[in-house]
Amino acid sequence: MDLSILQNSIAPLTLNDLFSNFWAYTITGLALGAIYALVALGYTMVYGVLQLINFAHSEVFMYGTFATAWVAVFVHGTKSVSQSLGNTIGLLALCMVVAMATSALVALLVERLAYRPLIKRGSPKLVILISAIGASFSLAEIMGLRDRIMGWFGLEDKLHNYVSQARNVYSSPVTVDPHKVFDFFGYGVTDVDLLVIGAALAMMFALDIFVRRTRLGRGIRSVAQDPETALLMGVNSTRVIRTTFLIGGLMAGAAATLYMLRIGTTRQDAGFLIGVKAFTAAVMGGIGNLRGALVGGLLLGVMENWGSAVFGTQWRDVVTFVLLVAILLVRPTGILGESLGKARA
């Protein structure tokens, strides 16, 4: 898993190591957790409104990572360059906008093709779940076969930089050198750490305001609380559902750019594990609860880092899921409880 790159500089892993590098683990964990949290929002919103696990969300995220890399290739060509954050901030902003748009588009497509026909028909949950799994497989494969698909249109050579060797790791040519901004208990907090955490928090803050204060946000909460009554009160549930997918896509796109900023490489199957973990984060925080997604994501990122410091990086994923099972057993509704609908109005 690519995530191990995050801390490959810290080699010997014991309890001692955790304590001596405690803040390093915690802060990189927070940065990772912020990315999880942004992806988790997509799961939690769709779950809050539809009570369905959106299995295709991991692919929505993955398309965002590719969009980010493509924009970087488009601007800089394939020659890899390493720059400071100050010089790349404009490019990053562009990447993020394009990634958000791409992910949102994919999310809307998923809603239109995999969800809406089945919801209209009142299909059972399991059936919709399978449809979402199908969409997930298809989207990942379309990305993995993009060179062939472009070949149909004769664009393979023209788009060589973007589509060649579609099944291999695809990396962004632009890497950002982190610069130490200030010392925090012996760990030099970098500008990249700050940007990732700050951007994620800002996104979530904006979303929280949107859901609590705007008309459309009220619609989302009402559908989450009681779909039938909401319908009777004149809420257009199709539009609400579409909006939740759209928002989930936007957040996943932003997360994808931040992910590429830290990790730098992606693949057509890069979404799967991130998706599972983000969903774990959503469940841990209390699914359907926006603030829960934040808490769950940050907690998961930090615990994962601590866990891999103690047990070794290879046990990272095991730590995640043991944690999930433990939390669900003690508090089945997650840390903050499930409450998109019951949010303080």
Binding site: Y47, Q51, I53, F55, L113, A114, P117, L118, R121, G122, S123, P124, L126, V127, I128, L129, I130, S131, I133, G134, A135, S136, F137, S138, L139, A140, E141, I142, G144, L145, R148, F272, V276, F279, T280, V283, I287, G312, Q314, W315, D317, V318, T320, F321, V322, L324, V325, L328, L329, P332
Partner: protein, 396 residues
């Protein structure tokens, strides 16, 4: 009630009409049906020898494909108990598959050299126990969370296998001995086994006996996959008989009641938690047997990469495509999911894409699966009748 045209005939919702097979009169008697079943079983055993045209996979060994199909079918039948009968969404079924496989690998190759037929029941016991251990906490949480907890379990199992030297780490376990052969088995000779069975070969639609390719009777070697297929098919038949007996018993009814309305079942005195746990453990046991067969299969090799989490999705898809709650549906789903990608290997790169798209198409046009359980068919028919009476005002 209307006595005119069958209500299903006017179902215009695209839900798919209930499949109604009317047997001709001479086939309705008990003995005739018994004969049919016996014939079906015989054909199933003979299928890889017959190598019928159109069905045979051109690009890969047909026997091997049949082994995979049988293995998936067994898994699907097991998972059908969990998903279809008890209504528990288990996304980590591959974990039990892997547990069974690793139990077999460890006990027959890695750390001991026990005979396969001693290890097979042991693998069943181990997976049952792991099913109980995982199920007891997991089933207490709500339905959707069960999905994610089991998903986590599936991931944990592969990660543990990948990181534990005792289990061979990422390299896996090699040289797992196959089940014991009957009769002489010197690898590569045509004189193996008690006797040899020739295959058929087809020239267009004209069959002829192919004496160059013979399958030794019950030699589990590296060259011929067909004996493994026979073993799996035998186990499938045993499991199916057990499945029929369980489903028609008190336990089966308790599962159905729990799935349809847990509170009502509890009020009627059904200890729902215990029955759900039983379903979970039964499913796990069958998955474990399938895994054990996989480990002792033709390749004799398992590694963590053999059990990716995506395989769990594939298993769930197999059950739901076939029709959750109907064992024949699950069986068909398992076979299709394993067989179709192999049959159309010429499209090899596109297989997964086609698979994903067809999942979406199938659930859109036939959400109840290819072979829905009788109950679902009855419900569809009843709904169509109500609609006929009330004039299309009832929502689905």
């Amino acid at each position: 009630m209307s006595t005119t045209a069958p209500a299903s005939a006017r179902s215009s919702r695209g839900l798919g009409r209930p499949l109604q097979v009317q047997l001709p009169p001479f086939l309705r008697s008990r003995s005739a049906r018994f004969l049919m079943v016996a014939l079906g079983i015989l054909v199933a055993y003979a299928l890889p020898l017959l190598q019928p045209p159109f069905i045979t996979t051109p690009a890969s060994d047909f026997g091997g494909v049949m082994v995979t199909a049988g293995s998936y079918a067994l898994v699907a039948v097991g998972l059908n108990i969990v998903i279809g009968y008890a209504g528990l969404l288990d996304l980590g079924y591959v974990g039990f598959y892997a547990t069974g496989a690793y139990t077999t690998g460890v006990l027959t190759s890695q750390h001991a050299h026990w005979p396969f037929f001693l290890v097979l029941p042991l693998a069943l016991v181990v997976t049952t126990v792991s099913g109980l251990l995982l199920g007891a906490p997991a089933i207490r949480v709500r339905g959707d969370y069960l999905a994610i907890v089991t998903l986590g379990f599936g991931e944990i199992i592969t990660q543990v296998a990948k990181n534990t030297p005792w289990l061979g780490k990422a390299a896996g376990i090699k040289n797992i001995p196959p089940p014991p052969s009957i009769g002489p088995d010197e690898i590569g000779t045509d004189q193996d086994g008690i006797f040899q069975i020739p295959h058929l070969s087809w020239n267009g639609l004209v069959p002829s006996i192919d004496d160059a390719h013979k399958t030794p009777f019950l030699t589990f070697g590296v060259l011929d996959a067909i004996p493994y297929y026979w073993l799996i098919l035998t186990i499938i038949i045993v499991v199916l008989i057990a499945d029929i007996l369980i489903k028609d018993s008190r336990v089966g009814r308790a599962w159905e009641a729990t799935r349809e309305d847990e509170d009502a079942a509890e009020l009627m005195g059904v200890p729902t938690f215990r029955y759900k746990l039983l379903a979970f453990a039964t499913g796990a046991a069958i998955g474990g047997v399938a895994g054990s067969m996989l480990a002792a299969g033709q390749g004799g090799f398992i590694s963590p990469d053999v059990f990716p989490l995506q395989l769990s999705m594939l298993f769930v898809a197999a059950v739901l495509i076939g029709g959750a709650g109907n064992r024949w549906g699950a069986l068909a789903g398992g076979v299709l999911v394993a067989y179709l990608p192999e049959r159309f290997r010429t499209l090899s790169d596109w297989r997964l894409l086609i698979f994903g798209l067809s999942l979406m198409v199938i659930v859109t046009f036939r959400p109840q699966g290819i072979l829905p359980p009788r109950r679902t068919r009855r419900a569809l028919r009843a709904q169509a009748e109500i609609e006929e009476i009330e004039g299309d005002t009832v929502d689905a």
